[in-house]
């Protein structure tokens, strides 16, 4: 047994007073969860502490909170680990607050309807059956069902929404949870509206191209859903397979970066902006959209030139890697982009190889159902270890 101090953020909406912090001392074994500690407080000291909870086993998604400033499930966080990163660095105090980006109802309980569920509803979260509906089951390749299991693993806990940095500055951003939910349908061969879903989310100024690519949701998710990865897949399918050129410059930006590196080997920054707005061509800078943007950026650009930060010649011509290397790079582009199907390895599904094990013979990737969703997972070698921190490359 060890003694821990829980510092809980309290808020009583009926009191008319501001939120405040209250400390409670609890005695529990170090491997127990923060939720168990909070429940002990409720049971023995103060039954008015409000927290949603049910299964205690990280499957129902009720107990999403922020522990020491980081979002996660209270039932899933061990006391000893939480105390280590705790507020007072004394190894025993744990700060627990409600999740962010959502209004607080009371104590650790937030209004998920107002934010999380609203966004889920936004993405038409039900299967729109491909016709005709077969008499028995749809025939769906094994790989596809395994692929969407990652999105299906989402327990709607809200941890990703809590700390989404895009949502912090743009509350209308569709968000990580809803995007992962959208992928669950886009990746399901039985859904009839892959194109429509992608077009909708790509054209929405607060849609998939509003994600600031900060990885916060990947770290927050207790289930390995990796919402940001799902957003990137949505972008990939939208641009590559459906050629959706959105009004938000998302597809153009992607095509610009990819194209510039093929043509220069390096980012040609001066071209990045015009081509993201005007399309991938030297003449993009004369496109009205690009022109307007360039005009808007004039203060920064002129200052940069005046300071000598930006070299005009280099801005015009760009900088390249040596010719032979550029040719090699272009060869790689040709080879890889020329493939009929994208070859992708999803570590969530294939796991990590063990050091000592030799890879077994590959399984042939099953043919993917037609419908524009070319996503075979790479053949996985045999026995894999589950993801764990100790396996990652800590360079």
């Amino acid at each position: 047994m060890a003694e821990y101090t829980l510092k809980l953020r309290r808020y009583d909406p009926q009191s008319g007073e501001a939120p405040y912090y209250e400390e409670y001392r609890v005695d529990l074994e170090p491997h127990r969860s923060v939720l168990e500690a909070i429940l002990k407080v409720k049971a023995e000291q103060d039954g008015s502490v409000g927290i949603r909870c049910s299964c205690r086993a990280a499957i129902c998604g009720s107990c999403g909170v922020r522990i020491n400033g980081r979002p996660g499930l209270a039932c899933h966080t061990h006391l000893d680990k939480a105390a280590q990163t705790g507020v007072n660095a004394d190894g025993s105090t744990i700060l627990v607050e409600p999740m962010g980006n959502m209004p607080v109802i009371k104590d650790l309980i937030v209004d998920m309807d107002a934010v999380h569920w609203k966004k889920i509803q936004r993405v038409t979260p039900w299967l729109i059956n491909k016709q005709p509906v077969p008499e028995r089951e749809y025939v769906v390749p094994h790989e596809n069902m395994v692929d969407v299991t990652q999105s299906m693993a989402c327990i709607q806990c809200g941890a990703c929404v809590s700390d989404c940095l895009s949502m912090e500055v743009d509350p209308e951003f569709v968000g990580p949870a809803a995007s992962a939910k959208a992928y669950r349908f886009v990746g399901d061969p039985r859904d009839a509206e892959q194109y429509e879903r992608l077009k909708d989310l790509a054209e929405d100024p607060h849609g998939i191209y509003d994600c600031t690519h900060c990885f916060t949701c990947i770290d927050a998710c207790p289930k390995g859903v990796a919402p940001m990865n799902q957003i990137m897949r949505l972008r990939r399918i939208a641009s590559n397979d459906h050629h959706i050129v959105d009004r938000n410059n998302g597809e153009r930006h992607e095509r610009t970066i990819v194209g510039l590196i093929r043509d220069y080997g390096l980012l040609h920054e001066a071209e990045m902006l015009p081509r993201s707005y005007g399309g991938y061509s030297w003449f993009a800078k004369f496109h009205p959209a690009a022109g307007a943007e360039l005009l808007d950026s004039l203060p920064s650009i002129t200052r940069a030139i005046a300071r000598g930060k930006v070299n005009i010649k280099q801005a015009a011509l760009g900088h390249r890697i040596p010719k032979a290397d550029l040719t090699a790079v272009q060869g790689i582009y040709e080879k890889v982009e020329g493939k009929a199907r994208r070859y992708e390895l999803n570590l969530y599904i294939s796991g990590y190889e063990d050091e000592e094990e030799a890879p077994a013979a590959a399984e042939a990737p099953a043919a993917v159902a037609a419908g524009g969703d070319a996503m075979p997972s790479a053949p996985g070698p045999d026995p894999q270890q589950p993801t764990s921190a100790s396996e990652s490359e800590s360079a």
Binding site: Q84, S166, E168, V169, D170, P205, Y209, T212, H213, F215, I218, R236, N240, N248, N249, G250, R252, H253, E254, V258, I261, G265, L266, L267, E269, A270, Y277, S297, P299, S300, R307, G308, K309, V310, Q314, H319, P322, D325, L326, A328, G331, I332, V336, E337, Y343, L345, L347, S350, Y352, E353, P359, A378, P379, G380, P381, A389, S392, E393, S394, A395
Partner: protein, 303 residues
């Protein structure tokens, strides 16, 4: 120590002061830089968004080139985004030998091949893990006394934690704090320390992008930081080059927060002058905000 040095694209493009200051401080830190000038852009996460195999192949090529540098102890980058983008590719390559073999197949035409297990570190990690804070402290000629520095890490070097090897033994998301203190400066903590500068969406949702930059700059300024320090030139672009726009996006007309590259902060402490470190090239000139004669005490101590 000798390192296979990937300078990135932007340090040779729109933030030349980064490239220059790194070259200037390397000898002072006993680092021999062997530049990987044959390597191409890491893709900054965008090529991976478009096609994972392409990103993994291009970066495997860079790794293979690094592995060819004789006597290099590891590969080093000066950009959080490079670290993160390369790290994502390396994770896949190292996790699955079959996949690695297939990717190496794409490199066969050039006779290149990536061998699993390359060590790739950002300058920030190298300072703490290879050089060591004690050793760094000893090299300080001009302690940054009275300089209040706000660290800004950049997303790609602090998340996801597992992939970046951030754990109890390597609290890499605190290294910038430590380095500032080792150089004699005062760390200013503010809300945005580990948040996003907004660069990835600057062309897709400019307002949201600049609002992020604006907030972090404002929070640091309100916390009375004299300057920010960033280990990522893309962050630098959104925080410095775009600072006028960022200020407008958050309705602040009093924003004047100089943003230093990590090698510049190092250079100052190691005895170099602001001009040598290219600090006059910034959009928000550090010298117009910080009076170096008072913020950084005296001239360098005698060797």
């Amino acid at each position: 120590m000798k390192v296979a040095y990937w300078p990135g694209c932007v340090s040779r493009g729109f933030t030349p002061e980064l490239h220059g200051s790194m070259a200037a401080v390397a000898p002072l830190l006993d680092i021999e830089l062997v530049e990987l000038d044959r390597a191409c852009c890491t893709g900054a996460g965008v090529i991976a968004e478009h096609n994972q195999e392409l990103a993994d192949t291009l970066n495997a090529r860079t790794f293979a080139l690094a592995q060819q540098v004789q006597g290099a102890e590891l590969m080093m980058n000066i950009c959080s985004t490079c670290q993160g983008a390369q790290g994502e590719c390396q994770e896949r390559l190292d996790a699955n030998s079959e996949y690695r073999e297939a990717i190496n197949g794409n490199l066969a035409a050039e006779g290149l091949s990536y061998e699993k297990g390359l060590t790739n570190k950002n300058l920030l990690w190298l300072l703490v893990e290879e050089i060591g804070l004690e050793s760094l402290k000893q090299k300080v000629k001009r302690p940054l006394t009275n300089l209040k520095v706000g660290p800004f890490y950049g997303c790609y070097i602090v998340r996801p934690r597992d992939r970046l090897g951030i754990d109890d033994e390597h609290p890499r998301d605190a290294y910038l704090h430590w380095v500032i203190e080792a150089l004699g400066g005062t760390v200013i903590d503010y809300a945005g320390v580990h948040k996003c500068c907004g660069f990835p969406i600057v062309t897709m949702n400019k307002q949201a992008s600049l609002r992020q930059a604006g907030r972090h700059l404002s929070d640091a300024q309100d916390a009375e930081a004299d300057c920010l320090v960033v280990p990522c030139p893309l962050c630098h672009l959104n925080l410095d080059l775009q600072q006028p726009g960022a200020a407008k996006a958050v309705g602040r007309d009093d924003l004047a927060m100089p943003v230093l590259h990590l090698p510049q902060l190092l250079g100052l402490a190691l005895g170099l002058e602001p001009k040598q470190l290219g600090m006059s090239k910034h959009v928000v000139k550090p010298t117009s905000v910080i009076d170096w004669s008072s913020a950084v005490v005296g001239a360098p101590a005698a060797a």
